[in-house]
């Protein structure tokens, strides 16, 4: 477990949907590294394969789809794609955690949010019921939920969208993972809440020293959040580089098109 070398090393990752022989490639052999503590962004339009890439790292296939993965996803040198299912369960949540797009649907509606976080802590860290609850309350406080001790006993429907995303984030960071994958974490939220959630992710990243993989279709979200950007288009990484460089001097035409798609206050004024 030395700090030298990347935390995550992805080589020639492919993902294809459908049965063998007639499979449709969705991710076409992409390679990238994530260093410990580094924040990287994946940008691209819907369907470009960025979410499938994120799920492939945790070997989460969309339910009902038959997905064939290829290549190598090395976490600290171990290939996750070859890991037995039991060991993979130990990686998920504990080493690499994920936050999803829709906080409305990502919590079990019939369990209190506290129970859901308790469960995870008890499973991964063998905490006692009481210790787990204490940690849960701390975590809910950490992600900015007011009065966490009593809110832990509330059900997901009693929380607003932004609050639920905070709960999801609390759950994801509860075992202090080395890498947090955030798949469009703010897309389902309104703009003011978006900024709060992004600030929270940024703060947690620094406090917990974890790497962050931020996936979005919105270049505006990436700015100020990450160091490295990967622009994805049709299952391939078409441009990569430091975030400032890409904003200043995009090379690929697709990247330029994406940057041009960010609405600017001046244009809005002119058209109205």
């Amino acid at each position: 477990m030395s700090d030298a070398g990347p935390l995550l090393q992805v080589r020639d990752l492919t993902a294809a949907f459908g049965r063998a022989g007639a499979a449709a490639p969705v991710v076409k052999g992409i390679s990238f590294d994530v260093a410990p503590g580094e924040a990287v962004g994946f940008v691209g339009e819907s369907g470009c394969g960025k979410s499938v890439t994120a799920r492939a790292i945790l070997r989460l296939a969309p339910e009902g789809a038959s997905v064939t993965l290829g290549g190598r996803v090395a976490y600290r040198g171990r290939d996750l794609l070859q890991l037995p299912a039991r060991e993979m369960e130990q990686v998920r949540g504990r080493r690499i955690a994920m936050v999803f797009q829709d906080p409305m649907a990502s919590l079990n509606p019939v369990m209190t949010v506290g129970q859901q976080i308790d469960d995870m802590l008890r499973h991964h860290q063998n905490l006692s019921r009481r210790a787990a609850r204490r940690r849960t309350v701390d975590l809910l406080g950490l992600v900015g939920i007011r009065d966490p001790a009593s809110r832990a006993d509330d059900y997901p429907h009693q929380f607003s969208g932004g609050m639920r995303q905070r709960v999801m984030i609390a759950m994801a960071v509860s075992c202090e993972p080395d890498l947090l994958i955030a798949d469009e974490p703010t897309t389902a939220l309104d703009v003011t809440v978006q900024a709060q959630i992004l600030r929270l992710l940024l703060r947690l990243r620094h406090e917990l020293g974890m790497a962050l993989m931020l996936i979005t279709h919105d270049f505006g979200v990436i700015a100020g959040m990450v160091e490295q950007v990967f622009v994805m288009h049709r299952g391939e990484i078409v441009e990569r580089g430091a975030v400032d460089a890409i904003f200043r001097d995009p090379q690929h035409p697709y990247t330029r098109a994406l940057l041009a798609a960010i609405p600017r206050i001046e244009t809005a004024r002119r058209s109205s």
Binding site: E89, G93, A97, P109, V110, H123
Partner: protein
């Protein structure tokens, strides 16, 4: 909001209340049974096939046994068999339906085809065959009826599991390392209980008929212990002389089965099954 029409839930609540009161009567009969009966169900008296009197409220049967006492004690037997077999069918249905729906693929194929085989037989044909093969004892009867109703319950479990397992919170649970078994039992099963509860109640209604019909055909608990089915069979030949001997058990059977149907409808509306 200013009209006097009952709210959508009101009818469901009314049905549910009626159903629960009826169920309370049945459970009281089942639990208290012999202590509730005025006489021993096997005590004979000289006046056979007598009409209702102050001593025998419903009269007596062909060998002078008190009809009311036999109805109460017989109800205990019929209801116990009914509840036990449905409980067994529910357990099997939950395990098979959840495994089948959640795991999918080959497990689903094998389990569902096996259940289809059971499902393809008419209920009575299958029940008679199994009881005849195993022998007409109470445990065998319970087992038989459980087997007959397992496919229905398994299907009712499986169908919503197929949809709930694709919900986002299941993937979210998986992404934080929750074990598959825990996902199935804690994150999927609790979301599909409503239709299962309703179907269980309907199955209880059907089972009452199956149990009494099998007893009527002599495949029930062995005599002399009374039960509603065998009472009906014994009384059949004296139907014209003493109609109460037939009407008594018949009404009891209809009442019990109606209880579960009313309850199922009340639960269906109260739990909002079908709108989700």
């Amino acid at each position: 909001m200013n009209d006097a029409a009952p709210r959508p839930g009101a009818r469901g609540r009314l049905l549910l209340t009626i159903g629960l009161v009826m169920l309370a009567v049945l459970v009281a009969v089942m639990v208290l049974g012999p202590s509730l009966a005025p006489y021993s169900p096997s005590r004979t008296t000289p006046d056979s096939l007598a009409g209702p009197t102050a001593q025998h409220w419903l009269g007596t049967d062909s060998i002078g046994r008190d009809l009311l006492s036999r109805l109460i004690v017989g109800g205990r037997s019929t209801l116990l068999i009914t509840f036990a077999s449905v409980a067994l069918a529910l357990c099997a249905g939950l395990v098979l339906g959840l495994a089948s729906g959640y795991l999918g693929g080959r497990v689903d194929l094998v389990v569902m085809r096996l259940l289809d085989v059971i499902f393809a037989f008419p209920v009575f044909l299958l029940a008679i065959a199994v009881v005849a093969a195993l022998g007409p004892t109470v445990p065998n009867l319970i087992l038989t009826i459980a087997i007959v109703y397992t496919p229905t319950l398994a299907r009712v479990v499986r169908a919503p599991v197929l949809s709930v397992k694709r919900w986002d919170h299941v993937e979210a649970a998986r992404s934080v390392g929750v074990r598959e078994f825990d996902i199935a039992t804690r994150h999927v099963l609790p979301l599909v209980v409503s239709p299962i509860i309703v179907q269980t109640s309907l199955t209880l209604a059907n089972t009452i008929f199956t149990v009494t019909a099998l007893s009527f055909l002599g495949l029930g608990p062995p005599p002399p212990d009374p039960n509603w089915g065998s009472m009906l069979a014994e009384a059949r030949q004296f139907m014209e002389l003493a109609p109460l001997t037939v009407i008594g058990p018949a009404i009891a059977i209809v009442f019990a089965s109606l209880t579960f149907i009313v309850l199922a409808n009340g639960l269906r509306e109260a739990l909002d099954v079908g709108s989700r």
